[in-house]
């Protein structure tokens, strides 16, 4: 009896850790639920329920003895598709019976603590080049390419810097878009750039919560009403921060 209970809690631990790593790194709500149910199923808990929101997961396993429930809190969210892929492959291995509970927990734990990202200069270059490319895609002129690259790179640099200094996402996005606006106005007044609006839109793109907006609508349609609404709120706050930062520059200069 005692043994069985602790086994059920072990299953819950593995499921919650897998769900947490996925959700923190940008996995979709339905995928998180699906993964947790599959893992529980593979370890012999056929009846499980999960409740996934962007800020926490509740997971319970039903059985002959009283059902067990645990909760995990999710405080910060980023997008790291590499980790999502790795959790996915771990869950595949669990389903095919290759991993014991202890091994699975250890691997997920190591994955959770690992930070294997592209180096910051690479990310900076990617953000800067993407800004320039968006300018062209939105029918800007090639003359404005370099200003957009510099403004976009500056914006990305400052959002990362401020994120380290201030833990409030809203504030760092506000400051970053303020800096983008400053760069754009500066370039246009100095005569390096021509279309202020296009430069700003292009360089703001790496900050825009496009993924969040789309995921929010998708969650709403899939019936995950709470996560849809809260992702929408997060997206709205970010969009507001960006708009306010730009507006501050445009209306005072």
């Amino acid at each position: 009896m005692e043994n069985q209970t602790s086994y059920a809690y072990d299953i819950i631990q593995v499921c919650l850790l897998a769900g947490k790593v996925m959700l923190q790194n940008g996995g979709e709500t339905y995928r998180v639920e699906d993964t947790m149910t599959r893992i529980a199923d593979a370890y012999g808990a056929a009846q499980s329920n999960s409740y996934v929101t962007p800020t926490g997961i509740i997971f319970s396993i039903e059985g002959p003895e009283p059902s067990k429930t645990q909760l995990i809190r999710i405080s910060d969210r980023t997008t790291d598709l590499d980790k999502v892929t790795k959790v996915n492959s771990i869950s595949r291995r669990i389903s095919s019976g290759d991993l014991s509970i202890q091994d699975a927990y250890n691997e997920l734990d190591r994955l959770d603590k690992m930070t294997e990202r592209y180096t910051f200069p690479k990310q900076l270059i990617a953000a800067a080049v993407a800004s320039g490319c968006f300018l062209i895609m939105f029918e800007g002129q090639w003359n404005d390419f370099v200003p957009a690259v510099i403004a976009g790179g500056g914006g990305f640099f400052s959002v990362t810097l401020f994120n380290r200094l201030v833990p409030i996402k809203f504030f760092s996005e506000f400051l970053a878009s303020f800096i983008i606006g400053l760069f754009a106005v500066l370039f246009v007044t100095l005569g390096f750039g021509e279309q202020l609006d296009k430069i700003i839109i292009g360089s703001v793109m790496p900050l825009v919560p496009g993924l969040l907006i789309t995921n929010a609508v998708r969650d709403l349609m899939a019936g995950h009403l709470i996560s849809g609404l809260s992702k929408g709120a997060e997206a709205f706050l970010t969009a507001f921060a960006i708009g306010a930062g730009i507006a501050l520059v445009v209306s005072f200069l």
Binding site: E28, G132, C133, I201, A239
Partner: protein
């Protein structure tokens, strides 16, 4: 000339976004390809006078289909390819315009633009969900056929 520029820039932008989202190295080029296909569908449709919402639904539908094919081929989650592909379609410019009008007290045009941005992001999601539903129907029908045999 503009056509080639659009192809190149949409490819680079999508791949760069894949890098920002920390997608695995091997999937960057594929993500760029998905984004390029989606953006070219959208661009051609919009240039030939079709409504933006319809162009967005079609483009995001095809992005999701290509991503699902890739996901099956390389045994990875769909999100890796679709995220980078969708980014060019996202109405970031519209959302920015709307926000700018809001803070400049021009509420009428702000609401107009915001509604349009919401419609477009909704249509991206519709395109994605639609292709997912079709994928599930196909998978379901092949499963039941296997069970019957």
């Amino acid at each position: 000339m503009t056509f080639i520029a659009q192809i190149l820039t949409s490819f680079v932008a999508s791949a760069a976004f894949g890098l920002l989202f920390n997608a695995p190295k091997s999937s960057l080029i594929k993500g760029g390809f998905v984004g390029m296909c989606g953006w070219m569908i959208y661009y051609v449709m919009e240039a030939s006078g079709i409504d933006v919402v319809i162009a967005t639904v079609t483009a995001s539908f095809f992005i999701a289909v290509i991503s699902q094919v890739f996901a099956k081929m390389y045994r990875t989650p769909v999100i890796i390819f679709s995220v980078a592909g969708i980014i060019p379609l996202v109405p970031g410019g519209l959302a920015y315009d709307a926000m700018r009008n809001f803070v400049q007290n021009d509420y009428n045009s702000a609401i107009n633009l915001a509604a349009k941005a919401f419609m477009i992001s909704g249509s991206i999601a519709v395109g994605l969900v639609f292709s997912e539903v079709i994928n599930q129907i196909i998978r379901h029908s092949t499963l039941t056929r296997h069970q019957k045999q």
